[in-house]
Amino acid sequence: MSLQEGQIIGEESLQPDLRSAQEEEMDRTSRIPIPGWLRIVWQNRKARFGLVLLGVFVFAAIFAPWLAPYDPRDNDFLPFQTPNSDHWLGTTQAGQDIFSQLIWGARASIIVGILAGALATVIGLVIGLVAGYVGGFVDETLSFFINLALVVPTLPLMVVLAAYSPVRGLTTVIIVIGITGWAWGARVKRAQMITLKERDYITASIFAGDSMPRIVFREIMPNMTSLVVAGYIGAATAAIGAEAGLAFLGVGDPLTISWGTMLQWANNSGALLTGQWAWIVPPGLCLALLITALTFINFGVDAISNPHLREE
């Protein structure tokens, strides 16, 4: 309490104990306008590092055709080469250039992260907001599905879904990841919705004659931005990991070059036994770095809403 007293000092204010510390915190959070919001993220050292790192990967993904020395599918080279001046990371069992594959692999991860993350976020947002706002029986029903989706083991479900899908492309992978990964976001957003809709300013909007959709999208949503952004980054991170995992297990898209498929090929071709380190370590590290970048950015976003995690 004393800490908060210090922070709100200088203006006359309410009796502090009549409002919970949490509400106080949430209001302080939502009070921060967008530019200030980005500034907090940028001020966080980890988040800044994450943003720069993410920038590097996005750059590689966009400019892969120009950055890669060879066509990643070109199998005209001598297979199983160790790193040399022509092939910085060597070649695969099929005689493809590993370094070129590594650069192209960024594309698959970034695309899956953006799209599957968006799909999961949208599903979670709609279900969470409706459940939270409407309440009653609708909430009971939707909450059941949210809780169900939370506890059902995701990977086996993804495997079964992928196994039955008639086509096996990146689109399938994105859809499978999206429809299995929305539950956590829905749960968080539902909780937030329930808190926010109890605010007097929402009642005030009803008294000001605003319609229901307007209240949800214009009055409540702007107060949830940091939550939605954090949720999106989290979902994208999970999606990137899931794509790599599925590809490694051989249930991904066999035609897409991704870090996951690279590791699958490396594992299947016994790269471990032959000591082709340059084939195994880089894709794993790239995945780790990309996931680190996103996780670090989220540290910054989390810090907006949770001062406990703020760097002091």
Partner: protein, 564 residues
């Protein structure tokens, strides 16, 4: 002999990004043996910081940056944690602000007592338990509650348990930080009396911190007034009342004096009546004509909530046979403690909840029958001022946005016209020049300024009725009167009817023409506001009135209780 002496004390909040903030500046304060010293100030004045720092309970980034805190002559600001730990509770104990959170939710009351006792003594479990039973009895709580968990006790009981816990090792000094804030006046009264009794019996010294001057004056021997981090006035309670040394103390006292011993009472409650601009609206039903004095008639209103707990269903009668009318240019106060059903009545009247029995007629319209578009239209005639100004304005939007929505929705105004009207509204609630406020976000405004914006928004659609639900209870004492004054002026000027919902009988007396006292959903007393206060008929009204701390009780002046 001095138990606690704070000398030239300074506390600073040091954060990396912001410049250091001095929360306590050169404070001097002494608490003598067997003395109760009150420390009053508004939120943000640094009073809690001072209290907690003086017993080394300050959380970082707060730091003691100067001065000494002597406990029985020993400077405790430099004691090691272990030396300090041995002093704690046996010598220095405390009760925190709003004890809702002070008890560990996962262990029962008995364990919390036994833990505390055994940390400092060699008592056996049985002896510790007996001891706990004794102190609980001192605060009038039966020993069986020892087996309870905190969530099974009411707020008042938790506070008593915390008080008992603070006394269990018979400390010589107790710090009480807002010990009764948030509790009903009746409960507050009994806890403070209990404290005073115990203090006289056991002889410990107390530093009691509160924003509520009334409560402080009631129990304290001496009072210190804190303002902007400095102690500006320290005097025996009675002396402070008669000769405040600092303008801030006088201002604080005046706020209370206005409630208790108002100087010039006009007696003319009607004020002048101005006719508001007649607007084209209410096409879905006929609103009462502007010439009709009665705008709303509530008759035999009843509402029962049924709560399902597993297989058992229990019912709570929230509103029981309530009748009243609202008239143009008049203020009707609905007074009750928490749980009395006053907020439920507000929800029924505004159509947020449907009532079970009785009727609410707005002109010729039965409110219960309104749905969809008609209900929305009804709400342009009945507007609300909310309790918490921090929650009533959307933090994501500007003041202009909040004011424009009702204008655009109900009046069909375009951007320019709405802005012009919004400026007028802001000026009407005293936010001048309006251009300084209109484009601000709520967080850039103070609590009082926000509440003015909330009032302006409520008046924007030219309503016939204004419902004000505890509009000042979350504001500092010094601003309360201003907000009430604005409400009063606007109601009289624009000739609308107002329902003023409050827990505070005295402010109801000051503002309203008529008072209804509500207890357990029933109106126990109803009548002219001055008459009800000076001459209460019902026992419950008596109890409420006698529970309100009256700093002027010992002075030889007639208070509102004495005047008809």
């Amino acid at each position: 002999m001095a138990i606690l002496e704070v000398q030239d004390f300074n506390v600073t909040y040091m954060t990396k990004r912001k410049p250091p903030f001095k929360a306590v500046i050169d404070a001097n304060l002494t608490v003598n043996e067997g003395e109760i010293v009150g420390l009053v100030g508004e939120s943000g004045s640094g009073k809690s910081t001072l209290g907690n720092a003086a017993i080394r309970l300050l959380d970082p980034p707060g730091t003691i940056t100067g001065g000494r805190a002597l406990y029985k002559g020993t400077d405790i600001t430099h004691l090691s944690d272990e030396e300090l730990r041995r002093l704690r509770w046996k010598d220095i104990s405390t009760v925190f602000q709003g004890s809702m959170n002070s008890l560990n939710p996962v262990i029962n009351i008995e364990r919390q007592f036994v833990d505390t006792i055994q940390t400092h003594t060699d008592d056996s479990d049985a002896a510790a338990r007996r001891h706990a039973e004794e102190v609980l009895e001192m605060v009038s709580i039966e020993p069986r509650y020892l087996k309870f968990f905190p969530h099974e006790l009411s707020g008042g009981m938790k506070q008593r348990v915390c008080l008992a816990l603070s006394l269990v090792l018979e400390p010589s000094f107790v710090l009480l930080d807002e010990p009764t804030t948030g509790l009903d006046v009746v409960v507050q009264r009994s806890i403070l009396q209990n404290l005073k009794e115990l203090q006289q019996r056991l002889g410990f010294s107390v530093l009691i911190i509160s924003h509520d001057l009334g409560a402080i004056m009631e129990v304290s021997d001496r009072v210190a007034v804190m303002y902007n981090g400095q102690i500006v006035d320290t005097q025996p309670a009675r002396q402070l009342l008669e000769h405040p040394k600092h303008p801030y103390s006088s201002m604080l006292l005046d706020a209370y004096r206005e409630l208790w011993v108002p100087a010039g009472e006009s007696g003319d409650a009607d004020g002048e009546r101005a006719s508001g601009a007649e607007a084209q609206r209410g096409f879905l039903f006929k609103p009462p004509a502007k010439t009709e004095p009665v705008v709303m008639t509530v008759a035999n209103l009843g509402k029962t909530f049924s709560r399902r707990r597993g297989l058992k269903a229990s019912t709570v009668v929230a509103v029981d046979d309530v009748s009243f009318t609202l008239e143009r240019g008049k203020i009707t106060a609905l007074v009750g403690q928490s749980g009395s059903g006053k907020s439920t009545i507000a929800k029924l009247v505004t159509g947020i909840e449907k009532y079970d029995t009785g009727s609410i007629r707005f002109g010729e319209t039965e409110v219960r029958s309104l749905r969809g578009k008609a209900l929305r239209d009804y709400r342009s005639h009945i507007q609300m001022v909310f309790q918490d100004p921090y929650s009533a304005l959307n933090p994501a939007h500007t003041v202009l946005h909040s004011l424009m929505r009702p204008l655009q929705n109900y009046k069909g105004m375009g951007g320019k016209a709405a802005r012009a009207r919004a400026i007028e509204m802001l000026e009407a609630v005293g936010l001048t020049p309006a251009s300084r406020f209109i484009d601000k976000n709520p967080h850039q405004l103070s609590g009082g300024q926000r509440q003015r914006v909330v009032v302006a928004r409520a008046l924007a659609p030219d309503p016939d009725i204004l419902i004000a639900d505890e509009p000042t209870s979350m504001l500092d004492v010094s601003i309360r009167a201003e907000i009430l004054e604005i409400l009063n002026r606007l109601v009289r000027d624009t000739n609308i009817a107002m329902l003023y919902i409050t827990h505070d009988l005295l402010s109801a007396r000051m503002l309203a023409d008529e008072i209804m006292v509500l207890n357990h959903g029933k109106v126990v007393e109803q009548g002219d506001s001055h008459e009800v206060i000076a001459n209460p008929q019902d026992e419950y009204t008596h109890l409420l009135l006698s529970s309100i701390p009256n700093p002027f009780a010992d002075l030889d002046v007639p208070t509102v209780l004495d005047r008809a």
